[in-house]
């Protein structure tokens, strides 16, 4: 019966590996990053100085730590707009603990715990109650920072121990900061998690079709919950770094950071609709944003004007290839 059917050979890949890499978003972004680096080196004499470049990394390391977790969350089809508020709450909790005599290890533990709890809180609303994450996190964005305001009011927590300063102000070796090391380690962990593990595959499957993923035996809600917790955890780590770097806590800490994190993730080629994106893309995007803001900063361009560049970059890197393709199609027709 069936032996009449001639089995056809199906190749593994449509195109060669080189072609795939060449055509990828990451290559485009890398070209942009290199261009910006070169332009910066010519535009200002202060750019190519190791210490200055080291300082420049502070412009993106903390945001990028969160961006890695956020990338996974966005790939899975969710989003967390409360990350900056989690930083505020975690930082406030650390400051509060400080008043009761907590030392550096306890502070770190508290920062991480609060981050995880906030992430779990978001995750609960999204996965257990089934509410859309963009809405939930717009709510918790106010709630978490609101709690900080209730605790701190117009006061500030200061006087963090000297050993605590290591996280945000310390150097591992020469110009390499502790934050940079954390950035590299976290990037590698998330890169492996997303691209090399079953968990990462599940994240992609969920992002493309959550129903079918569920029907394929993936524990969709559990995976999403874990992603929210991870995002919370990363916000906790960022809170430790930022608090250490500022040496004090105010409820207004990290205001507006959530949008920069999301921008970084999207610039990194992660589809905001879920289902696609890579960690290397986000790493390069972090550098692009860091280089642009630092380069313009050296030229004393006001932050708001820098944000025009970031906004144009965000739209431009997506729009230009499409315009190009449209033009090419127009020429052929």
């Amino acid at each position: 019966m069936t032996d009449a059917i001639q089995t056809r050979h199906i190749p593994d890949h449509q195109t060669s590996r080189a072609a795939r890499i060449f055509k990828s978003w990451e290559s485009l972004l890398l070209a942009v990053a290199i261009a910006i680096f070169v332009i910066n080196s010519f535009a200002t004499p202060y750019f190519l100085n190791p210490w200055n470049l080291s300082d420049a990394t502070f412009n993106f390391t903390e945001k990028a730590m969160i961006a890695f977790a956020m990338a996974l969350l966005i790939i899975s089809g969710e989003i967390d707009l409360s990350v900056a508020s989690i930083i505020a709450l975690a930082s406030t909790a650390m400051g509060l603990a400080l008043q009761y005599g907590a030392g550096t290890p306890e502070l770190v533990l508290i920062g991480l715990t609060v981050g995880v709890l906030c992430g779990a809180f978001n995750g609960f609303f999204v996965t257990v109650l089934g509410l859309p994450s963009i809405v939930v996190t717009i709510g918790t964005m106010s709630l978490f920072r609101g709690i900080s305001f209730i605790i701190l009011g117009d006061d500030a927590f200061r006087g963090y121990p000297a050993s605590f300063a290591w996280f945000g102000q310390g150097y591992i070796y020469w110009v390499f900061t502790v934050e940079m090391a954390l950035f590299v380690i976290i990037a590698i962990i998330y890169g492996v998690l997303l691209h090399k593990t079953n968990f990462g595959r599940a994240v992609y499957a969920i992002g493309n079709n959550p129903t079918a993923a569920l029907f394929s035996g993936i524990r969709v809600q559990r995976v999403k919950f874990i992603l929210f917790v991870l995002t919370g955890l990363m916000s906790g780590i960022a809170a430790i770094c930022l608090t250490s770097r500022l040496g004090s806590t105010r409820p207004s800490i990290a205001t507006g950071m959530e949008l920069e994190v999301v921008t970084m993730v999207v610039l990194g080629g992660v589809s905001i609709l879920g289902g696609s994106g890579t960690i290397p893309g986000v790493v390069i995007a972090a550098f692009v944003m860091g280089l642009v803001t630092f380069g313009l900063g050296l030229l004393n361009v006001p932050g708001i004007v820098m944000s025009i560049f970031i906004g144009l970059l965000l739209i431009g890197v997506i729009a230009l290839p499409r315009l190009w393709a449209m033009a090419a199609r127009g020429r052929r027709a």
């Binding site: 593994d12 449509q14 079953n198 079709n209 079918a212 029907f215 696609s276």
Partner: protein, 515 residues
């Protein structure tokens, strides 16, 4: 035997629509390659072809959703081009598409008239008039619901009626039906046939797409055959036999006899006792044996899928016990089901089956990752190996294994979904309408494959609304009606009448009365 010669077209009729040398390429895939299709007034033309032959693509071109890369479309002999769906509608072409394409949040009348609602003097939508017209239209097709009903409150079959009403609401000259009976029950199918006859008598040209040959020979006047995006032949139904048509379509002869099920039936593998759900089903008790094919028959909406999804851990039953190999198992999630060797190939392939956006091989290995990976880390080589093996076993047609599964035709997507479950090497496989929308060649392959699986000792639950399939394949059949088991029939008791009787709740003919 070679395909029968193409019969000459009768000279007395000029085609109303005539497509010629139409081509369409999607990124890399040549969906249509210079095809031709003629539709005649007052006649039903059946368009047949395997999955992916390009039937739906042709429909989309004819309705202005896609624009062809080349070729001409003529209406009454004059060339036309449709830049957007409205152009086709203005030319009098309307379609009932393969997927129901309606709006859950709008009411029935709005669904029928969206885009061409009657207006008041001020250019605003005239709601009263719209409902009047809709009510009249619904009465004509015998729809049992009001024009005010929100669409989301309708069942799938009734939604189809709305789609039909919508197609009729424009005074069209050409009506296209892309697999219109796939989701309809017996009775509704008959009503649809009657409707087609009415349309014919009004002189409309009808394009009818179906994989069911009995249906084609029942209502079509003419046929056109596509194979792999190319035109193969056309002619009058009266001039061709079913076997020859199949041969034209597949390019070889297909044995339509169901495979002999001479597999041995072994010990009990699965036992379900008293499964119930607050609103969807109740008192479901049955057992399943090794190597058995258990058919689940019922009218559309009988609740078979709901029960199967509960068994698979998607929804939670309120009561009931499930034993696998004699041990009580609590199945709370599909992951639990899979680890107990129970897998489910869903009915709604696009939403629940294939993960569009992921490559074919990743779709196939998704539930088997535990096997292909090591300590939770992926091993791509193992994945490709597994995917290659099952692609071959199911005769998948694809350009490459890392191609997006969304670029496959419906039938091939179904193969990927079945492959993904077979790769887990389950004990029990539940196939929910496994051949719905699948072409006759692949259908035979699926049937053969099912028999092969059963012979290898796999237990199969097959949910199907197709009587020949149920009778041909099953060792035993459970008939469901309104969420409950209506009857359990042994292979020897299977006749179309008994099945329909139990499914529709008609008491035995001797007792006489209908419920």
């Amino acid at each position: 035997m070679s395909p029968s010669p193409v019969p000459p077209i009768s000279p007395d009729l000029a085609p109303l629509v005539s497509m010629d040398m139409i081509s369409k390429t999607f990124t890399g895939v040549k969906a249509l390659d210079g095809v031709k299709l003629d539709l005649y007034p007052g006649q039903v033309t059946a368009l047949v072809g395997e999955n992916g032959a390009g039937k739906s693509t042709t429909v989309k071109i004819l309705t202005g959703i896609y624009q062809p890369d080349g070729g001409t479309i003529r209406i009454d002999g004059a060339p036309v081009s449709f830049a957007r769906p409205n152009d086709a509608a203005k030319a009098g072409i309307t379609a009932i598409h393969q997927e129901t394409v309606l709006f859950d949040e709008l009411c029935v009348a709005e669904n029928i008239y969206i885009g061409h609602a009657p207006r008041t003097r001020f250019g605003l939508i005239d709601k009263a008039q719209m409902h009047r017209l809709a009510t009249k239209l619904l009465a004509e097709i015998g729809a049992p619901f009001s024009s005010h009903t929100p669409l989301r409150d309708l069942g799938i079959a009734n939604k189809h009626l709305v789609a039909i009403a919508r197609a009729l609401s424009v005074d069209a000259r050409v009506v296209i039906m892309d697999e219109p009976t796939a989701a309809l029950s017996h009775k509704e199918i008959e009503e649809l046939y009657a409707l087609v006859d009415t349309l014919k008598s009004q002189g409309k040209a009808i394009l009818f797409i179906s994989h069911k040959f009995d249906e084609i020979f029942r209502i079509a006047d003419r046929y056109t055959v596509f194979r792999d995006g190319a035109f193969v032949g056309d002619g009058k139904i009266a001039d061709i036999t079913e076997n020859d048509l199949v041969k034209m379509m597949v390019g070889r002869s297909v044995d339509q006899i169901f495979p002999q099920s001479d597999h041995a039936i072994g010990e009990e593998v699965l036992k379900v006792v008293g499964y119930a759900h607050p609103t969807e089903f109740a008192d479901i008790t049955f057992s399943l044996h090794r190597g058995e094919i258990l058919g689940f028959y019922g009218l559309v909406g009988a609740g078979r899928s709901e029960f199967m999804q509960a068994l698979f851990g998607i929804t939670k039953p309120s009561k009931g016990v499930c034993r696998v190999n004699g041990d009580i198992k609590v199945i709370r999630s599909p992951a639990d089901a899979v680890s107990n060797g129970i897998v489910y190939v869903p009915e709604d392939r696009g939403r629940q089956g294939a993960i569009i956006g992921l490559p074919i091989f990743q779709n196939m290995t998704l539930p088997s990752l535990a096997k292909t990976s090591r300590h939770g880390f992926l091993r791509l080589a193992e994945e490709f190996k597994l995917a290659r093996e099952y692609a071959q076993r199911l005769d998948l047609r694809a350009a490459a294994l890392d191609q997006d599964v969304g670029n496959l035709s419906g039938g091939n997507q179904q193969k990927v979904v079945i492959a993904k479950w077979l790769a887990t090497q389950p004990q029990v496989i539940i196939l929910d309408e496994p051949t719905k929308g699948i072409d006759i060649g692949s259908k035979a392959a699926v049937h053969a494959f099912m028999a092969e699986l059963a012979a290898q000792g796999l237990s199969v639950i097959m949910v199907s609304s197709e009587i020949p399939e149920i009778i041909g394949m099953s060792d035993r059949v459970i008939v469901m009606r309104d969420g409950r088991i209506a009857a359990e029939l042994a292979k020897d008791d299977l006749t179309p009448e008994t099945l329909v009787r139990h499914a529709a709740g008609i008491r035995s003919s001797k007792a006489g009365a209908a419920a």
